[in-house]
């Protein structure tokens, strides 16, 4: 059975990023379908296998990436250990749908950086994504286009001059592009100004989604912003909107709110940050939701220079490492929920040992 070793990788998750105090990651995803086949949900299993083989062959074709990357890894998802599929999901390298074990689901990722991933036979035949730490939308887009061009020279894409790249869901048709950024906006929530940001995003037809736990409340003040319009607006237009309109605005809002917290509500902020660090460094049982929220407070503490000895990228990686799949992979055996809480607390204590207030 294929294995995927999370700790052996040097994922982008562990690298610092530009504007990393607010922008955690940048992601560009392109949806593509191969001409001459039904979309995945309507294709026969034989057709899905054919699509997988075509995609596999084109992706592994020499030179498709090879620019300083160590190598490409092809994964037949059904042949992968179920726990490793969960690990890939927790790293956002596959979707919920793709984490199922049907034999025709495939994945191609670049290792060890994991910046580049192509899901084969998800909702569309190909879902190509490039993700980078911090604000790196333009370079992520350039990379995605390079790969797209390479694939296009080997595959016939389903395309119409009128509707653009044809996708299974009409919400993706046109450019097939989904640009998204993961933002950390703790000060905007604390100062009650999140609505300002939501309004600005809505006026630009951008979707804002919180990161949710089991309940409906947003966890850890992490928000994902992505474009909804894919038809009638070019890729460049959408990128410009992110890089020159919404992101400068939101970074400014958040940074201003942080400054005002530090100057006007310093004790409250210090209390929240140190309390969070204290719990993370001494708890013996920890739920994922609680840990995410506490790590968010510590993150704000690092940015506000109230906490030393830990870097933002380490905190980013920790939010992934405390997920169930990663914890079980880390100890090398199946853990039930109670055992996971113990293990999660242990991992956090160990990895935050050097952090101090």
């Amino acid at each position: 059975m294929t294995r995927f070793d999370p700790e052996a990788s040097q994922s982008w998750l562990m690298r610092p990023g530009r504007e990393g105090d607010v922008v955690i990651s940048s992601r560009v995803r392109l949806a593509r379908n191969i001409a001459g086949y039904p979309f995945v949900h309507r294709a026969s299993n034989a057709q899905r296998e054919e699509i997988k083989e075509k995609a596999h062959g084109s992706l592994m074709d020499a030179g498709i990436i090879g620019r300083g990357r160590s190598h490409l890894m092809w994964i037949d998802l059904a042949a992968l250990h179920a726990l490793d599929r969960r690990v890939l999901l927790e790293r956002n390298l596959i979707s919920q749908q793709q984490a199922k074990s049907e034999p025709w689901r495939g994945l191609c990722i670049s290792t060890p950086d994991e910046e580049y991933a192509v899901m084969v036979n998800e909702e569309d035949h190909l879902r190509l994504q490039v993700v980078r730490p911090g604000l790196e939308l333009s370079s992520a887009f350039r990379e995605a286009v390079t790969v797209d061009d390479q694939l296009e020279s080997r595959l016939d894409y389903a395309f119409s001059p009128r509707f653009g790249y044809l996708t299974a869901c009409p919400t993706n048709v046109g450019t097939g592009i989904r640009v998204s950024v993961m933002l950390h906006l703790p000060a905007l929530r604390l100062t009650g100004e999140l609505d300002k940001f939501r309004r600005a995003a809505k006026a630009m037809s951008l979707a804002v989604r919180g990161v949710h736990g089991e309940g409906s409340e947003t966890l850890g003040d992490f928000y994902q912003v992505s474009n909804q319009v894919t038809l009638g607006r070019s890729e460049q237009d959408i990128l410009m909107q992110f890089e020159h309109e919404i992101l400068p605005q939101i970074m400014e809002f958040e940074r201003t709110a942080r400054k005002s917290l530090v100057s006007k509500r310093r004790v409250m902020l210090e209390d929240q940050v140190h309390r969070a660090l204290g719990v993370l460094r001494s708890a013996r049982l920890m739920k994922a939701e609680e840990a995410t929220q506490l790590l968010s407070h510590v993150r704000l503490g690092v940015v506000a220079e109230l906490v030393r000895g830990i870097k933002l990228e380490q905190l980013t990686y920790l939010t992934v490492l405390i997920q169930p799949g990663h914890l079980q992979r880390l100890v090398g055996r199946a853990l039930d929920q109670a055992e996971r809480r113990v293990e999660r607390a242990t991992v956090l204590r160990e990895r935050l040992a050097d952090a101090c207030g």
Binding site: F39, D148, D156, P161, F163, C169
Partner: protein
């Protein structure tokens, strides 16, 4: 994929099958979706995807307002998907569905894409040749119409030749584009 094996924890059919090695001992695990989620092997259910949910709501609203039963029963000649099924699931069946259901899909696209109804942006190179050729053909045919109307027969003959050349199926790069149509 049905293997008919029951979940280790309950009577439902298992959908996750794995081999776990604990202390050198090989153990098989079979879990239903719910128990696999509980064991942390399968991810827990996601919230509704806001975008697809939005699309479904729109499709449903349109259904109430304008659609006749005959329209709902209409299906795509290429893949056989009925519009009713698209409405229920929110996914089209094949690339040809876009043209087959164009009259009802375009209003949806306009709403979902903030007024956008025509593609702007990247074009695959091979399809690019196709787009350019189609536009060129359209322009030549318009010119031909004018030439005939103005009784410029020599010019019309030249235009007919040019159109004939463009329509040749055995061009090189352009031929590859043809198959995309």
């Amino acid at each position: 994929m049905s293997m008919g094996i029951k979940c280790d924890m309950c009577d439902r059919e298992a959908s996750v099958h794995e081999v776990v090695v604990v202390n050198g001992e090989r153990r098989e695990r079979h879990l239903c979706e719910e128990h696999a989620q509980e064991a942390g092997v399968l991810p827990t259910k996601p919230g509704p995807d806001t975008i697809s949910a939005m699309m479904q709501k729109m499709v449903a609203a349109q259904h109430l307002s304008t659609e006749s039963p005959k329209q709902a029963a209409q299906s795509c000649p290429q893949c056989g998907l009925s519009f009713a099924k698209f409405r229920a699931e929110g996914l089209l069946g094949c690339p040809a569905c876009y043209d087959a259901f164009a009259d009802r899909i375009v209003p949806l696209l306009v709403r979902a894409h903030d007024g956008g109804e025509h593609h702007v942006g990247r074009v695959p190179k091979r399809a690019g040749a196709l787009v350019e050729r189609q536009q060129r053909l359209m322009a030549l045919r318009r010119e031909l119409g004018e030439a005939v109307a103005q009784e410029q027969y020599e010019r019309a003959a030249k235009l007919r030749d040019e159109i004939g050349m463009l329509e040749q199926p055995n061009g090189d790069a352009e031929d590859a584009g043809e198959r995309l149509a």
